[in-house]
Each structure stands twice: as C-alpha cells, then as structure tokens.
C-alpha cells in the first residue's frame, strides 16, 4: 500500500509540475509574440485577412495591388496572408484566437459574433463607407445547358420534377441566403406568410441532397451532375459557368436577397500586434477606383454606384431586397427562419 501511495504522490506531483511548466511556457511565448510584432514600425508588416471560401481569387489580386501601392507610399515592407473557410467556422477561429487583423466574412452574423466577444469595437459598421460594404452580392441560379426545365424565376423551382441543389441553411451561409431569397420572392410579391411557408416546404422537398456547405453543393451539382438548378452566390455562379465549358448557364431571377459581406478591422488584434495603420488603409483601399474595378472583375457588385453602372453587362438589373424587408435584420431573420425551432425546422417532419 505504502508503495502505491508514494507512486501516486510522485506521479501527481510530476503532473502538477509539468502543468505549471506548460503554463509558464505559454506565458513567456505570449510575451515573445507581442514583443516581436511590437517592433513593426518601419520594417516589415504582416497582415492576416480571414475571409470566407469563394473570395480566394479576389483577395489575391487585391492584395498584390495594395501591397505595391502601400510599399511605395510608406516605404514599409508588407505581406498579406489569407485564410479561407466556411464563414462561421472562420469567425469561430478568430474568436478562439486566430490573430486576424481584418475579417472579410460572408455575413454580419459572423462578423458581429466576433464583436460580441469584445475583439471588435461596437459601431464597427459605421467606420467605413457604405456601412462597411465595399461590395455586395446576391443569390442567382445555375442551370444545365439549354435550360431544359425552363427555369426563369423562383416560382419555376417548385414545378414538378425539378430538383434543386442548395446547401443546408443550418450549416451554410449560402444555404440561409438562398432560403431568404426564396422567402422574399413570395412575401415581397404579394404572397402571405402561409404562402411562403408552403413555397419553401415544397422547395426543400425537391432538394435531393442537403449538403453541409457551399463547396459540397457545387460538387454535387457540377461533378456528380445531380439536380436541375443550383442556387449559389452570383460570383460563384459565374465561375461555375465559366469552368463548365458551356455545359451550364446562369439565370438571373427577377428578385433576390441582397447579401452583405461586411469588412472590419479586428481591434483587439491590430492593437496588440501594432498593425492598425496598415489594416485600416488596407480596408480603405477597397473603396478606391482601382479596387472597385477588381471587385467587379471578380463578379462582386461594387459598392460604388459608378462602378456598378460601368459593369451593367455582368450585373443585369434585378431587384435585390434588403433583409429588413423580411425581418428586423440578419440576426432576427436567422432566428425566425433558420435557428432551432424556426420555420426551416417545421419543413421536415419525422418519417
């Protein structure tokens, strides 16, 4: 027994000691990290832009242009790292400690979750022009070559025999934006709430696969050739059609949701890393003529009216309704329609 007890005491002691060591290590590591980046006054600066999935190509081009103009202007060396993933997964990563200097996420729901943890200051949305929206986007349709099912607008989606590919609104931003678009297409054209519930119920019954994310839904539609119509971001739709060698076509419905991917500086991180000046001018650059042109080139709708008009050939006129027309705001809409116990849950009945 005595032997066992001493073994126990020894091992517990060792355990505690190593735990202490661990804490000590991480504490000094933290101090080192701040000291390193604290000296970023005149030499080299590194920014991390945490964004959502389809923006890869957009940011690559914007970053290259911004870096050269910034280095010319200030004499500092700048490098910008990008991180991409599902929008809310990215938001959770920032909340859990990913040191993003700026976040350029798909939805205010994700950006504001970071504010609620105190990493971004209140009223962040008013710090940049157009409510911190250098660009916006919407949900459009992609159909098979020749549009065999003759899909022109939301009402055509629920025709018998039409299969719709759209990701799960519960696990995907693309998914809930599509839901909002579908809902708005009914209630903003004279339909009642009951009509809208009936419509979305019918619509989701015709979704053969409820993929968990936007990328999985694209795979299902393009590679596996399942479904007649794919509801997706406007910029993704353009890429999908372009890469499919004329096998797919883009259809603009007459009405859709105005999707708002806000941008914001992560205050807590830029203050600690001493990168605020660079991060702020990075986001301001997005409103410049040069950047607005790049944005349009990548099929995001430029926040600046002049540039939107300049590219009217790629952004045909359609009614983009605001989320405030079907709910108080995005948070309210998500709660009413998507979250646990919302409209979406009522669509599915146990079998």
């Amino acid at each position: 027994m005595g032997y066992r007890r001493t073994a126990f005491i020894k091992s517990t002691g060792l355990l505690l000691l190593s735990a202490l060591l661990c804490i000590a290590c991480s504490a000094t590591n933290g101090a080192d990290a701040t000291r390193d980046s604290g000296g970023a006054g005149r030499h080299s600066i590194e920014l991390l832009n945490v964004s959502y999935d389809p923006t890869r190509e957009l940011w690559r081009e914007i970053n290259a242009n911004f870096i050269s103009s910034y280095e010319k202007e200030t004499g500092n060396r700048l490098s910008i790292k990008q991180s991409h993933g599902g929008s809310s997964t990215q938001a959770r990563a920032v909340i859990d400690g990913l040191e993003a200097d700026v976040v350029t996420l798909a939805s205010i729901i994700d950006t504001d979750a970071i504010r609620r943890k105190g990493l971004i200051k209140d009223k962040w949305i008013d710090r940049l022009p157009h409510r911190s929206l250098p660009y916006y986007s919407t949900i459009v349709f992609v159909v098979r070559k020749g549009n065999p099912k003759d899909i022109k607008d939301w009402a055509d989606l629920v025709k018998p025999g039409v299969q719709i590919i759209t990701p799960n609104p519960k696990t995907s931003g693309n998914g809930y934006l599509s839901f909002f678009g579908a809902w708005g297409s009914v209630v903003l054209r004279g339909g009642s709430r009951e009509d809208a519930v009936k419509y979305v119920t019918k619509l989701y019954k015709q979704v053969p696969v409820l993929d968990s994310g936007a990328r999985a839904a694209s795979t299902t539609f393009v590679q596996r050739r399942i479904g007649d119509v794919h509801l997706t971001w406007e910029n993704e739709a353009h890429l999908e059609v372009r890469e499919a060698n004329r096998e797919l076509e883009l259809i603009y419905p007459t009405i859709s949701i105005r999707a708002e991917p806000h941008v914001a500086v992560v205050d807590a991180n830029v203050d600690r890393r001493n990168t605020r000046a660079a991060a702020e001018s990075y986001l301001k650059y997005l409103y410049s003529d040069e950047a607005q042109d790049i944005i349009a080139k990548h099929y995001y709708r430029p926040g600046n009216e002049v540039f939107l008009k300049k590219h009217l050939d790629v952004f045909p006129d359609m009614r983009l309704f605001n989320i405030t027309e079907i709910a108080n705001d995005y948070f309210d809409a998500h709660k009413q329609y998507i979250a646990e116990g919302g409209v979406f849950d009522a669509i599915y009945k146990p079998k």
Binding site: G2, S11, T12, N168, K170, S212, I226, E340
Partner: protein
C-alpha cells in the same frame, strides 16, 4: 513486493507519471472542457438541446450505422486477415498495404469518391440505381463508407493473432477426427475472439465519430440521413457553443457506455474460453 517491482520495470515512476500526464492532457483535459461548457446549461436547457425527436433520430442513425458497419467489418476483416496470413499469391504485399489506406486517406476524399461512384450517373450507380440499390445519399451509403473507414481496424487486430496460430493445431484438430467446421468453431475462433472484439469496438468507435466522409454521401436529410455530428455543426453555426457541446457529451456518454459494454463482453468471453 515493491522492490521486486522496481527491478522488473525500470523507470516505473517515470513511465507511469508520463502516461497519466499524457492521458490527462490529451484525453481528460478536452473532455473536462467539454463538460464544463455543457455544464453552463441548466438541466432543462441541456435536455431540450439533446433530446429532441430529430436528435434521437440522429443518434439512432449514428450508432446504428456504426454498429452495422462494424459487424460487416468483423466478417470482411476476418476473411481478409485469413487470406493475408494463410495464403500466398502474387501481389500479396500490395494487398496488405492497401488495407491501411483507409487510415491514411483523408476521410472527405473517401466520401467524395464513394459518392461519385454510386450516384445515378456514377460508374457503379448507373447499373445499381436501376436495380433499386442507392449507394449514395441513403442510410446504406453511410454504412458503405463506414465499412471502408473501419476495415483496417479488424484486419490489423486479427492478423497478428492468426500469424501466431500454428497451422499444426488445425491439423491436430483434423487428425482427432474433427470436421473443418468443428476446427473453426472450437479451435480457431476462440483464440481470435478477443482480437475480433477489439477490432469490432475500434471500428465501431471510429464509425460513431466519423464526420468528414459521411457528410458527402449521406444527403443529410433530417430524420432520415442526418447523423448526430451534423447537428453539432448546425448548432455551432448558430454560435450556440453550449448546446453543441451538450450534444457532443451525449455522443461521448453513449460511446463510452458502448465501449464498456463491449469490454465486458470481451472479459466474459475470455473467462468462458479458458
């Protein structure tokens, strides 16, 4: 006692402390963090998060599919291990290393590949779907992909035991007048039971936790093909951390209970064979 022990196992304290510490950091710490999160809910909140009709359907599917796949692997794995140990044929080395592939392949890739094979227009699907066999976007699809994921566990636990099993004991059985079935039933299988049960429980546990491949083949339809990990992701998407961990705790509790049960079966079988 103590002095003898020390000589037999040099560095006993160090290795014990290391094991306790290692387990603590890697297993117990994350689990207690999980408990801690879920603990921020009141009992009613916890219950309403984890015990909805939809969640129950998802638990049943998750454990059911993992169980069916593990049973299938028990037979497939045994046969495969048998072939690999007892026969020699050209390309045996390659087959042997293929067995480990499911462990190395990112599971999302497995899901994508399986899905593309079995969809309506896929290589296999174009023949199977007209026959009513839906190997994609169905419960069957989940089982299929879990069989793939779990196969190495049974093969690799059974294989070394079979290698140690001298063919002479089979011959002895035969020379004593036993039929082939009796030899298998009374000589080979009893030796293999513990390994089979270990392989089964590993494959089963792996199946319960699998997410990456399943989301690509299951269709994720609530009540029919929605697995429990999808519910966790859905709650995380709402930034409802506590509710998500609550569901995770239920999965963890159920898995733990299953593993304890399997361990008890293993002990029971060992007691009865020897």
């Amino acid at each position: 006692m103590a002095s003898i022990n020390r000589k037999v196992l040099p560095g006993f304290f160090l290795s014990l402390s290391y094991s306790v510490f290692y387990l603590g950091i890697l297993v117990l710490l994350p689990i207690s963090a999980c408990l801690f999160r879920a603990g921020s809910l009141s009992f009613e909140e916890f219950w309403s998060a984890v015990w909805t009709e939809r969640a129950r359907a998802a638990y049943l599917l998750t454990f059911g599919a993992a169980f069916v796949a593990a049973v299938a692997n028990l037979f497939l794995g045994l046969v495969l291990a048998w072939v690999l140990v007892r026969y020699s044929f050209p390309g045996k080395k390659i087959v042997d290393s293929l067995v480990d592939l499911p462990l190395a392949l990112p599971t999302a890739v497995a899901g994508l590949v399986y899905g593309s094979l079995y969809v309506d227009k896929g290589w296999l699907g174009q023949y199977l779907v007209p026959l009513g066999i839906h190997g994609a976007y169905s419960r069957f699809a989940i089982v299929l992909v879990l069989i793939f994921i779990g196969l190495p566990f049974v093969v690799r636990t059974v294989q070394p035991i079979l290698e140690d099993l001298d063919p002479e004991v089979e011959e002895a059985g035969a020379s004593l007048g036993g039929t082939r079935w009796q030899t298998l039933r009374h000589i080979i299988l009893p030796t293999l039971y513990p390994a089979l049960i270990t392989g089964f429980s590993l494959a089963f546990a792996r199946g319960v936790g699998e997410y990456g491949s399943v989301v690509f083949v299951s269709g994720n339809e609530p009540y029919t093909t929605e697995i429990a990990p999808i519910l966790i992701v859905a709650r995380l998407e709402e930034f409802a951390y506590s509710e998500a961990t609550a569901i995770a705790m239920v999965l963890l509790g159920l898995s733990f209970a299953m593993l304890v049960l399997i361990n008890m079966v293993e002990r029971w079988s060992m007691r009865h064979e020897h």
